[in-house]
Amino acid sequence: MSEPDTSGRLLGEVVVIDDIGPGRRSRAYPSGGFAALLLTPVVLLLGAVLLWPIARTVQASLTGPQHRYAGLAHFRTDLAAEGIRQVLGRTLLWAVAIPVVVILLGYLLAAATRRSSSRVATMVLVAPIALPLVVTGVMFRLFYDPDPARGTGTRTVVAVAGLFGVPADTVPPWLGPDLITIALMSAFVWAWLGLPVVVFRAALDAIPTELADAVRASGGTRWHVFRDALWKPLLRRTTTIVFALVALGTARAFDLILVMTPGSSVDEAANLAVRVWQTSGSATSGPAAALNVLWLAALSVGVVIAALGSRQAWPPPQSPPSEPEFDGSTVDEVAPERGRRLVRRTLPALTALVWAIPVVALVATSLHSPQDSATRGWWAAPLRLTSYTDLFKGGDLLRSLVFTGTLALLVTIVVVALALPAGYALARLRPPGTAAAGVLLLAASAMPVQVVAGPVNEVLQALGLAGTGLGLGLVHVALGVPFAVLVLRNGLADVPAEEIREARFAGRREWWVLWRIAPVAKPAIIAVAVLEFVQVWNDFVVGLLFGGSAATPLGLLLFGQTRQFVTNNGTLAAIAVLASIPPLLLIVFARGHVVRGLVSGAVR
């Protein structure tokens, strides 16, 4: 809180400086102290719960007993272990194959649905992002049930094989060792496809159509239009970011693999995360830490790619881009030929139909009694609610729902409260190191919590929070803040300079300026709040590691029921459906805000 006369002097400068550019602004800006104040809580939190633990993990990977330097011995032990090369190869395959498939499919669908009014189709494709990955795992375990009488995926393959005269017994099962990775990947693609569809649609809508017209007018083919009017100006950058995001996401396929893989196929399905989980139980922590460091190294490559991608030169827009609209906007263009129109009509609808089947199967399974869901297909047998009524008998589920909801709400409030000032500081005050902070925040938001779980505990113990609900919340906050700061920084950077100027004239203190302009960044704030709530609600790993004795978080509760499928199908499906409803409703109702909030500031 600077002296009144200081801020008065400051006002005039900012108005001028704002138009000069970031480099000088940071040097010239006089209220570094205020920026420091705004950033301190976030810096402390990230330092304690992310940076310091990473340093500790790296240290543990290089030292032996009594902290003696062990060189690369732990890494050599890891790489000599049976099957580790396959695990690393599989992790890499996930990180490369999934983004490619997701991007290709997502771009096609985005291009196809852009100018059609298939709202429902888009909704069906986007909705899976909202679901907990544990639920997706349960859903696809049921979908790929090796018994054709229950598993729709198996039934389909068996039917197709039958057309070619292949007997049902010789068709390899989806969940068997040969196809398990494909089955897992399909579930992951199912869950993540909505992201590129939304992002590419926003990008395509933001591209001025005059560009394509100009290329066409100068005799360009369709390929030229794609290259010069779409790929170069916008898609290259968007693709890089989506690729990095999805690749980083695949590192967390842990939940999916743990829930969906039958015991006999675990070896053929394990990625690095699962391997770390299985083997970190051994007495010495050195090799486990080394595995974590390998994992970190791979992730940092992804982060660097993402950071480079987002820094690519952005062509100054000729006209101020209109607010990208999520649904429906129809811009008239050259009428496409009939064939292409047919594809545009049918591709989204067909994909949506295919995308809906696992959900329908899950909901239908939950509407059968546990007995019927074990012995018959979801399309047969009378509908009953016994799977649901059984769930609420003990009160444990209700307690878990209330606990998870309260936790998610509180964490969301704290995250927004911490990230808003920090985002403001980075966007408007630009203290030294702002650019580096962006990369660090990106790295922090991609960090899997397993890597730092041990050292994080030392911090929690020092605070007396280990094993408490507060400790669990604190870990969630630390994991959520980096992404929130990134989004809010972009959102606040979008606030027009005039509004800030007005706010500065009207109020004398920086706090007041922040308070005044916060409503302008409403879409970004809503986006952060919704995504944070959904992330905490959907969490499995943090609850698995840090869940205290107060109550069991929902993801862990569902996981605890996955030891036996088939006899437990009704119960599992019912919990999965209940766990999906809140995040689904949130994302569906707030989707416009979320998309606007996420793309805001992207043009800077």
């Binding site: 102290g33 006999s264 012995t375 094993g467 004795s549």
Partner: protein
């Protein structure tokens, strides 16, 4: 400016301290006791019903099959449950030596026969108390599905029955939950109870007897003789490796795809839940003996409750006392497991629970078997193994037997080669486990 920064830093630090104080204050009121279990589904529901009678709040967490991964991860985050209940008692030695566990009071240990306590004894101290036992030497069958054949008493008769049923167009003779590695290890261990001498059996547990020798080799060869019968399992072997234990029971009792299924007493309650109305319950016969002169195998399993230390000093004592009170109550004279006993699928080695408590019938007889098998108690071998040799999913014995199963059930299997490979992999896994646990 430096002055301002330092003032901010001070403020930040003060806020941090305030938060910590608040947190400390919040955790004091009565904290629920957290219990981690491997059960899920119906068993988890029944256990929750049991602990609901406890005077204080209890939070039950299903930790999945890999209890070791769960506890180790939770230990690293200083967030271990107060009590853990699991069948892999081989873990107890490691945990006790790392000072993770609180010893069991003598009055609690006195509720069990000496051989049962010996299984939980590490360096002369008992860690843990039994809350559930399992009789793992049973075959369950639909009486009308054996085609009028008599119940087999010896392994040869059993093999012949499987062959005969497999040759007909009736349902397959056997269902098996091979997706759960422990089902396969239970088959092997039932044979080992007879094929291996007591010394040899215990030597396998301790790692002093090589897995590639006599008894294990013979047992695997015998298993291949039954598993390898063409048509022994419904829908072919590939499908069988994706069938879980409870599903295999459903295949017998509800879907009538198979006639018999092997597993412990806990099959009964699953069978009853899924038995179509009007159909008689499944009947049982003992796991066949190797010859008319040999005894019937009796393999027992069980779930032990251990109290985990958390915190340090006086906090640790208070926490341990809370956990110990719960275990004392679970094994105590109020017999809280009565709801589970009534529902079925529950046996106890607890001397306070008399065999008559099961209301006569099969369960009472099995409970008598368990309590009288004191001198020759053969406890589940894989559950006693240390390190990764004993499983779980994708590891050690579980995975090796699954691969062995896939080999011998394939077309034109090379049984001798499969046995060789399984034996040498078991030996290697045992050596690896030894390295893990000694380091």
């Amino acid at each position: 400016m430096t002055q301002i920064v330092s003032r901010r830093a001070l403020l930040g630090a003060a806020a941090g301290v305030a938060t910590a104080g608040l947190a400390g204050g919040c955790t004091r009121p009565q904290r629920p006791i957290q219990v981690a279990v491997v059960w899920s589904g119906n068993e988890l529901a029944l256990f929750r019903e049991v602990v609901r009678q406890y005077p204080g709040p209890v939070e039950v967490v299903g930790a999945g099959n890999d209890m070791d991964a769960f506890l180790s991860a939770r230990y690293r985050t200083a967030n271990q449950p107060d009590v853990a209940i699991f069948p892999q008692i081989g873990l107890i030695a490691d945990y006790a030596r790392q000072h993770w566990l609180a010893p069991t009071p003598s009055w609690v240990a006195a509720r069990f026969a000496e051989p049962w306590n010996r299984l939980l004894t590490v360096d002369g101290v008992v860690y843990g108390a039994w809350v559930k036992a399992a009789h793992k030497s049973l075959f369950w069958y639909r009486p009308d599905a054996l085609g009028g054949q008599p119940v087999p008493e010896t392994w040869d008769e059993f093999t012949a029955l499987v062959r005969r049923l497999a040759a007909t167009d009736r349902p397959a003779p056997l269902a098996i939950g091979a997706a759960d590695g422990w089902v396969l290890t239970d088959w092997l261990e039932n044979l080992l109870t007879t094929l291996a001498s007591t010394d040899e059996y215990n030597g396998l547990v301790r790692g002093t007897v090589d897995w590639g020798t006599g008894a294990v080799r013979n047992a695997l060869t015998l298993l291949a003789g039954v598993w390898g019968v063409p048509g022994a399992f419904p829908n072919g072997p590939g499908r069988t490796l994706l069938t879980q234990n409870e599903e295999s029971v459903v295949q017998v009792v509800a879907e009538h795809r198979a006639a018999m299924v092997f597993e412990g007493d806990f099959v009964g309650i699953v069978a009853d839940r899924f038995r179509p109305a009007g159909q008689p319950p499944l009947a049982t016969f003992r796991f066949p003996r190797l010859g008319p002169a040999q005894p019937y195998p009796l393999l027992v399993g069980g779930d032990a409750a251990v109290v985990l230390r958390r915190g340090a000093g006086r906090v640790a004592d208070r926490n341990a006392a809370a956990g110990q009170n719960l275990v004392d109550w679970l094994t105590g004279p109020v017999r809280p497991f009565t709801p589970w006993i009534r529902a079925g699928g529950y046996l106890s080695p607890n001397l306070l629970v008399s065999p008559t408590a099961y209301g006569g019938g099969l369960a009472s007889q099995l409970a008598t078997d368990l309590q009288t098998a004191t001198s020759s108690l053969r406890f589940d071998l894989s559950d006693q193994l240390r390190g990764s040799l004993g499983g779980p999913d994708g590891q050690g014995m579980w995975k090796i037997l699954q691969d062995f199963f896939a080999e011998v059930t394939g077309a034109a299997p090379d049984v001798r080669g499969a046995v060789d490979r399984a034996c040498s992999r078991l030996s290697r896994a045992a050596a690896q486990a030894k390295r893990e646990t000694s380091s």
